[in-house]
Homo-oligomer: 337 residues x 2
């Protein structure tokens, strides 16, 4: 795929939700992977499935620290560096906001310097959070965002904006060949059951028969991309020979309200649980939908998995994960057909 001598791919954050799917997809295409992960938010079981596969090597480490010698000592062998390292759900990234900021800024600096030393191409997974609570809809990459830099989400949102700034500076200074993906809401197997995000929340509560909690009145909208589609977009972006100076939105442009999502999940799980409405967290975005024109044009990428099919697969995985696979889940079999 790249220079003959550069046979390794570094995936920082490769034991996380998206990272574990990315690693699996890269292994599927024959890449040899070194996964660097602090296991701060990663699920051990995500990692376990990868450890059994040939071509996969795991190194525990935190990107805010200098990269381990086991990686820097083989720099010339790396042709690609993916940076997915950061807690991504608000409850997780707000536990230690200083660490979240440093993961994004210092971690990205360490990985960019490594890519520079290795002559490797670098891909930053940025986020739709750089658009904040957007005033323009859908969000195109040239929209500059409406981010509160003083609020409790800023450690992540501003951390990612700063990571983008540094990534493009490395490219502008001729120090690295870069790609920047702005990832919108993504869902699928390997999510944390209790990471506080809406898809996993709704599914786990519906499956377990607990009351379902909705933050706000449920009229806020989101756009959900199935993780396999997202990973396909990341690999296309990394391997494309485009001008890397522009960020690329990756997400599913099908928009629905949280209440519509709730109805789908209830229907898929056959849940009869009640619904409790809680206050909306500070700075929670009201609407979020990607304009993916750039990804379509540059990468020939568009999401393929419809929401009902993706949710059915996710419900089935969570049911298995939570050990309630014996429960009646009538709609899943139908939707997954």
């Amino acid at each position: 795929m790249h220079d003959a001598g550069a046979d390794l791919v570094l995936v920082a954050g490769g034991a996380g939700f998206i990272g574990s799917h990315l690693c699996a997809a890269l292994l599927d295409r024959g890449d040899r992977i070194v996964c660097l992960d602090s296991l701060q938010t990663a699920r051990r079981s995500n990692l376990q499935a990868l450890l059994d596969r040939p071509g996969f090597e795991f190194i525990e480490g935190d990107v805010t620290r200098p990269l381990p010698d086991a990686i820097t000592g083989r720099a010339a062998r790396f042709g690609r560096v993916y940076n997915l390292a950061c807690a991504a759900s608000p409850p997780a990234y707000q536990i230690d906001p200083e660490h979240t900021m440093l993961t994004n800024v210092v971690g990205t600096a360490h990985l960019l310097r490594f890519a520079e030393a290795a002559g490797a191409r670098f891909l930053l997974t940025s986020t739709s959070e750089v658009y904040g609570d957007p005033e323009c809809h859908p969000q195109r990459e040239d929209y500059r965002g409406w981010v509160n830099c003083t609020g409790p989400r800023a450690c992540y949102d501003e951390g990612k904006r700063a990571a983008e700034a540094m990534t493009f500076d490395f490219a502008r200074m001729g120090r690295a060949d870069v790609r920047v993906a702005r990832i919108f809401n993504t869902y699928g197997p390997h999510m944390h059951p209790d990471d506080g995000r809406v898809v996993s929340n709704l599914i786990c509560q519906a499956l377990s028969g607990r009351d379902i909690t909705i933050h706000g009145d449920g009229s806020q909208t989101r756009s959900f991309c199935y993780v396999a589609d997202l990973v396909d977009g990341l690999i296309r972006l990394m391997e494309s020979e485009i001008d890397g100076m522009e960020p690329v939105n990756l997400g599913n442009p099908v928009e629905l309200t949280v209440n519509e999502l709730l109805d789908l999940v209830v229907s898929l799980t056959g849940s009869s649980a009640g619904v409790t409405y809680l206050p909306l967290p500070v700075d929670d975005p009201r609407r979020r939908r990607p304009d993916i024109g750039r990804a379509e044009r540059l990468l020939g990428w568009t999401p393929k998995v419809p929401l009902d099919a993706g949710l059915a697969m996710t419900c089935a995985w969570f049911a298995d994960e939570l050990g309630i696979s014996g429960a009646p889940l009538p709609a899943i079999a139908h939707a997954a057909e």
Copy 2:
């Protein structure tokens, strides 16, 4: 001023333009200062005048590195920490954008952790650049800005936004008592003659008889605050017992176009130099004017020095600095009366 045992003030970036005036003003009020500066953009002569004063101690160091033992070893003696450390003019901060970003993020983290350990109050000098090229005018502190996080100014603008985010996180987590000032364009003696900013550019070119260069057509507006006013605002903010969770704009709300500034400078210096118009740099803001209602209300602060008087003092200082004090400067004597 504060705890009896805490008799020292740390001023990071204290040898710079604003920093040197701040140190002088703090010495005037009886504070004992430890100035930490990398001398990256500081003028040696700014520092020299301070070194002669009792109560002033200089330590050379870069805030991106762990703070020197000579500071951390005396943590309990520090009651105040001012962070002014960062190159602030685009040509200077764009030389090494990675270092600019890390100065803002890692430097601020080092100083915040020091303030936490010392139990000292921390003041971040943020910037009107967090508003980017503003769509709302004048800019209030709750305006979220229009910043291009992928452009060549982002290392500074996003670096400061990230530094704000981290500062407010330290306050939210109960780790430090903080203040954040957003400083608008400031001018006065001790500026770099060639830092690429409009006031120093115009004055130095007018004084030296070279052609005067204006970027853009000169219709873009700025608001210029005399440095003594700004320093007064910084000290008031640091010493005020306000809720530190809100940033405070500090600047002069009198707005004028760059062409109007040019006319003033030409009149003050008696220059007969021609004017050359050059292209506007990328992401240069078109308008910039602070709403200072919050500073007026919370600090009782308002700028006092009129622009013509401040410019006259600045012209006189530059004429002396450039060794052309013998040149005819008819308007200065008048304006400075």
